[in-house]
Structures are given as C-alpha cells and as structure tokens.
C-alpha cells in the first residue's frame, strides 16, 4: 500500500481504538483478580478447617 498520510492516520486511529479496548480489558482483569484475592484471603483466615485449631498451634 502506498505510504500516505491517510494510511498513517488510519493506522493511528485503529491503534487508539485498540488501546481503549485493551485498557478496558485490563480493568476487567483487575476485578477478576480482586475477587480471587478476597477468596484466597478468606481461606487463609478460616484456616484448614479443624475447629478451634489455630495455625500458631503448629
């Protein structure tokens, strides 16, 4: 394709749109990871299940 300013402008426009989409995708990843983090933290708090036992007992 001829190297024109129109082609360059079109590429720049596409690049901006893709960066917006993937910035939004990264935001979703943060939400996903936050949910996972909360559950893993809760499991750490609960311990491994035997009632009355603390991890400090080991």
């Amino acid at each position: 394709m001829a190297c024109t300013i129109e082609k360059v402008l079109a590429d720049a426009k596409v690049l901006v749109e893709r960066l917006k989409d993937h910035d939004n995708a990264a935001e979703s990843l943060i939400e996903q990871t936050t949910t996972l983090n909360k559950q893993v933290e809760s499991m750490k708090e609960v311990g491994t299940g035997i009632p009355g036992r603390n991890q400090e007992d080991f």
């Binding site: 190297c3 024109t4 300013i5 082609k7 360059v8 590429d11 720049a12 596409v14 690049l15 893709r18 960066l19 989409d21 993937h22 995708a25 990264a26 979703s28 990843l29 996903q32 990871t33 949910t35 996972l36 559950q39 893993v40 809760s42 499991m43 609960v46 491994t48 299940g49 035997i50 009632p51």
Partner: protein, 66 residues
C-alpha cells in the same frame, strides 16, 4: 525544514508508517497476553472455588458431629 519538500516528507512518512505498524503489532501481542491472563485467572478461580466449597462442607459436617 523545507516544508514543501516531497522527498523529506516521504522519508518521514515512511518512518512513521513503520513505527505505527510496529506499534499495532506489539499491541496485538499484548492483547493476546491479556486474553491468556483472563483464562488463567478463570481456571484459578475455579480451583479456589472447589477448595472453598470443601471448607464449607467440612465445617457443616463437623458442626453436625458436635
């Protein structure tokens, strides 16, 4: 800079076109990695859900035994 010189603009347009092609390519690679992260996190969440549910079930069982 001779603003009306076609050959200078052609060189710079070419360089600009190269940069933008490289940026688009690199951005696509980054996007693929974000998609991979999404899948890995989903799998991890699923495995964590299993363990969490097992803790809840065990707690209910032990409560009934008390």
């Amino acid at each position: 800079v001779a603003a009306n010189s076609p050959s200078m603009y052609s060189q710079e347009l070419f360089q600009l076109s190269q940069y933008l092609q490289e940026a688009l390519h690199r951005e696509q690679m980054l996007e693929q990695k974000l998609a991979t992260l999404q899948r890995l996190l989903a799998n991890t969440q699923e495995a964590s859900d299993s363990s969490w549910q097992a803790l809840i079930d065990e707690d209910r069982l032990l409560s009934r035994l008390e």
